[in-house]
Symmetry: C2
Subunit: 469 residues, 2 copies
């Protein structure tokens, strides 16, 4: 097969851009840093949304929608929050042909405006917990944009909750982190993630604790796939989210927020993609099996392919027919590899004359001739196997590219090509600042048993150091 | 039951506002004209989206996502378009802490930016038709905002398609209009709609034909529930959406656009709502049946209610348990009426002692005692009957409040309280201008057989004149 993409080993960023363009996933928008998500990628995003939404609802949160426009004054009420977001804001100064009395920012995130309404809706302890989520676009002006990974506008879900106690807020944040995010990434995206705590330096602007899920990409760098935050009483005090307790006293609520975005599409590409294109995990793939008519003779090939499509659909497989026989077979095969359909079934005259079709697995490129009668069973088995195989391969790569070290110098050395696991005590806040100067960050901290610490000051924590997106 | 809402007959706009507030559907946002869609209303919107999305995909369109921000220069390329939208634009002048070289508008609609990308993606007749849709927020600065009906930001779907011929473009626009919009409104929302053509005066800025679906609200006014536009070659020429034909010549494409929005939530409230609150059609309702524990004695009432909830769920009913027995029953009943659950099943000690429950239909307020064993069958039958009953009632109201007249004066008189059906020839463009001065508009034009005309200049057209939202 001719070389379609720049090989990953040659130039990973260029491979990524090539792939996004040739698989028709996205385009750059006309305003710097914005993107157009094309149908091929958007269909994947819709399946991510559906799965995530189901999990969020199962965790008890309800969807709502809050305004895109936020008064500039709202952001200023939480000091760290405004400091963190000010450099990234898009500001609307004119509306309806007139200069606005107060400039309005396009939401970079919605803690402030949602805080304002939580304050209106929460009155008594009976109104808590208040568990909200919204699917929305947000804007953070990007100086060095890269499609899906860093864009001036992106799509996401942002959960916002208010609780009566700090313990409740913590429990719920960790529940979302484990039961919604980790499972979504593991079971649907087939991406192994390390859960941990962000250092104070890397914490969300306005949070008391930020939890992250970090994944290793094909080039050994880390990608933050999602974050969940305990906001303490910072926003509750700034927006007066108070409630009367069972004992009759007036208390401030404890709030949380948590988000995942179209950035996961970038993670998906960079975790599973190979030199021929995307590899979409079968559980996620909008089209799991592409049945390809290799070429047509008297109409019987397409007819056999159609029957197979029907049989696969009846077996619950998301299947599509490629009968564009006026386009060369080779070109269609290259396109299918680029788009990453998990399974191709090639139906051609020569094989069909002997009652056979060929099963092509995107995972490893293997081609297996099959009797037509075996095809449905073989496809469903391959879909299940390759979901697991992609996860296992990603996990093995992460293990192979993670080095256990004991000093900061060794960690910075290892982080040049992969991840370093190092005692946090060997890094510390000074070591972290030093690593940052070399474009290496502390991705997260976790305890010896893998659990998430309550503070970066706990003893015996392990840190992951890496370069990142 | 105590009066909860201002009665419709006393003050319809106040009834609407009361209802939106007391049923916890929405709040005004902090920036003028924006809204917060609360979970109760958002859950309805999600079901509208799911149904609409399925129909749009069945019509062959694929979802994509285009940027929120559009360069100001794009809007100026189509003269009528920019003239129509300029007064309503929100303009971003600062991004990332700097003044922007070119101001950016927040999309009021996406014909321009999508046109730009259609031009990139379409090359040959083989690339046509190109059928796209997006779910997005849009901004049109509102001077006289009203929640759901006219808001500075609203949520919608906007379809955008490009075709090789004018006939294809027309056929597809009408297909969307009939097969997607009309059926969605009729079969899911139980709202009868009149399909017709907008006059040239009421046409979308940049379109050659605008088709509308008009519904009568509870006060006799009209609401435009959705519109579909043929854009001719206006945008194709402005954005150079060209293709090489089968004959090898270079041609401009023909484009269309079509949209429905959260405004439909306002239509739903004003079409079906009564003096006690919303009435949600069963097919649409996120919760179709509320099983209410009237009061508890020894735990057996709640236990019986739970069993009924399980049985209803097993029968495919979307059901919810109300076991908040510490809140007075009367208050819960008022809340259920406000929120418009189609069916309530009241489970109380006295009835249950005799093996009975009470079925309350929101449609007509009727209360029917039932043997527990009959409950599931009665609920499913009532859900089906009341979906139809709401439609029939709305249709009967529309007929009763539509007057057939033959002169403009009579039409303007009739439009004071309802709709007027009048020969378009008796109105004409001068009559239309005159009616507009009295806040009466021509809602649409149709032929004697009800079909949609190709121009307002066809003979023998009928016009609907009415006040509107
Ligand atoms: Zn976990
Ligand atoms: Zn029709």
């Amino acid at each position: 097969m001719a070389r379609v993409l720049t090989p990953r080993a040659e130039d990973f960023p260029r491979w990524y851009q090539d792939l996004i363009s040739k698989a028709e996933l996205a385009d750059n928008g006309p305003v710097r840093g914005t993107m157009v998500i094309r149908p091929t990628a958007y269909a994947i995003w819709e399946r991510m949304q559906a799965d995530m939404d189901t999990r969020i609802k199962a965790a008890g949160a309800e969807n709502a929608y809050f305004p895109l426009f936020i008064p500039e004054s709202y952001l200023k009420r939480e000091a760290e929050h405004v400091e963190g977001f000010s450099p990234e804001l898009a500001v609307v100064t004119h509306g309806g042909g007139k200069q606005l009395a107060e400039p309005v920012v396009v939401r970079p995130t919605s803690e402030t405006v949602i805080g304002e309404f939580m304050a209106k809706w929460v009155d008594s302890y009976r109104d808590l917990p208040l568990l909200l989520n919204q699917w929305a676009n947000v804007v953070r002006w990007e100086m060095r944009p890269r499609v899906f990974l860093r864009t001036s506008e992106f799509l996401w879900q942002e959960g916002h909750t208010a609780h009566a106690t700090e313990a409740d807020a913590k429990d719920y944040t960790l529940k979302i982190h484990h039961e919604v995010y980790e499972r979504h990434m593991r079971d649907l995206l087939a991406i192994p993630v390390v859960l941990g705590r962000k250092t104070n330096r890397e914490r969300f602007a306005g949070a008391t604790s930020t939890y992250t899920l970090e994944a290793m990409m094909g080039d050994g760098k880390a990608l933050q796939m999602g974050t969940s935050h305990e906001l303490g009483q910072n926003f509750a005090k700034a927006f007066d989210i108070g409630y009367s307790s069972q004992a009759g006293t007036r208390e401030f609520a404890w709030t949380t927020s948590w988000g995942t975005s179209t950035r996961m599409l970038g993670g998906l590409i960079m975790c599973h993609g190979d030199d021929n294109g995307m590899r979409i995990p079968p559980a996620l793939a909008p089209v799991q099996a592409l049945v390809t008519v290799v070429k047509e003779t008297d109409g019987s090939i397409t007819s056999a392919a159609r029957t197979l499509v029907e049989d696969l659909a009846a077996a619950g497989v998301r299947v599509k027919l490629d009968d564009r026989v006026d386009t060369p077979f080779g070109r269609r095969a290259v396109d299918a590899e680029l788009k990453g359909y998990p399974i191709r079934v090639e139906v051609g005259p020569r094989d069909l004359a002997e009652g056979r079709v060929v099963l092509v697995r995107r995972f490893d490129g293997s081609k297996t001739p099959l009797q037509l009668g075996e095809a449905v069973g073989a496809v469903t088995a391959a879909l299940e196997a390759d979901q697991k195989a992609l996860y296992d391969e990603a996990l093995a790569r992460r293990e192979a590219n993670t080095v256990e070290v004991s000093t900061l110098d060794e960690a910075m050395e290892a982080a040049g090509t992969g991840w370093a696991r190092v005692p946090w005590s060997a890094v510390g806040v000074d070591g972290e600042a030093l690593a940052n100067e070399r474009a290496i960050t502390v991705r997260c901290l976790f305890r010896a048993d893998g659990s998430i610490p309550a503070s970066q000051d706990e003893p015996d924590l392990t840190a992951i150091l890496a370069r990142s997106y």
